[in-house]
Amino acid sequence: MSADKSAIHSKESAPWQGQVRRYDIVKEGVIALLIVSLLTLTLSIFMGSPDEPSLTFKGWAASNSDNFYTTAVQELAGTSESAGYGAPYNDAGVGLNLGPLWLQKWAGIHHPINSANDFVITPLGEQQQPAEVAAALSTWRSAAVVDKQRWAVDYDAALSAVEGKVSAVKSGDYGPVPTLAKGLTAMATSGALDGLLLSQGGFFQTDHTKQILFFGDGAYLDDAGTAANLQGGTWGMMNETGRYPGQAWLWLYSLWYQIPPFNNEESHPIGANADAYILALMGFMTLGLVMIPFIPGVRSLPIRIPLHRAIWRQYYQTEGIGKRKKK
């Protein structure tokens, strides 16, 4: 049997000696290109393409100024997502792990971000501010770390207690924090913050890491993602804005985020480190796809399940090659 197999194998790899048919490869290519061009043209003419305008800090502050304000306070208090993120932005968190592999942490800090300074203090300092904001800024800058921490954390807690409703917050000793948050909200509302964060002190700027992180700390981007059905937990990875098809080829990657234990942040170790485990799993499965010709069982599926009888039926008929017997 194995002699037969190796004879078949060597015939399969040898140049074909049997019947041939005419085949105009150049003509085929030209026709295919024409068809695909026409299809693309038709789809574009009729459907257009998606382009939801990008969100801005101005839009955030204008539509939900309390949320912007609260987020600014969280940046100062160090309680925002970015402030506690860990690598590659800062050392405030340990990051995710794959069992004993702390790859996120080991990769180190490559894009240093200090949420309080980068998102609040520096932008405020780069613009002419009203007297009270300027005074608050200088109080903050000259204050001891413990004081800064106490003011901001207390104020953040007070805001949380009233669910972020700025006007309802209890009075207390919050130092310059309310004034700073108010100043930044005013800057954002005027649109000045968009420009400042973009330039980040330089003329040319091609890296938007800081803006994206600041955005992500608040509810504005998240709400927009939910409204557009783009949340990862609801297959958003595959979706597109509007009614356009999305990255449907990410279906498998997206699938894992929908099922346990990956979809439960509370479950350890996998759910709590879902991003890392899913990426590793997909890497492994991708390797599997590439290596199909060498994986016993998988590589014989197409031989066992005879779709090939349909594909080559003309040939099987002419040559009188019968079906395999079921084992």
Partner: protein, 94 residues
Amino acid sequence: MVAPFLYIEASFKATSLNLVKSESALLIRGAKVTGFFSEFMNLNAVYLKANSWLSISVSNLVVIISMLVIFFIAISIPFPKDHHESSKNGRGQK
């Protein structure tokens, strides 16, 4: 006679993205959407949901079902026979 393609004013859905109208007006800055049906294509997508976790947009479903249908059509419908009968082992490459 219709134009080769229509220009439809962007129908950006400010409400769905929780944006203020002024921002969308500011950001679009005169940008227009091309395509006869682009107004329809930019409406909120329709999602099909089965049980608690399965959810797919109609567009993605159409794409995936079309792929399956096209695949089965491709392996089932007859391919035109070669009318220029060729001889056994008449390897035209030579």
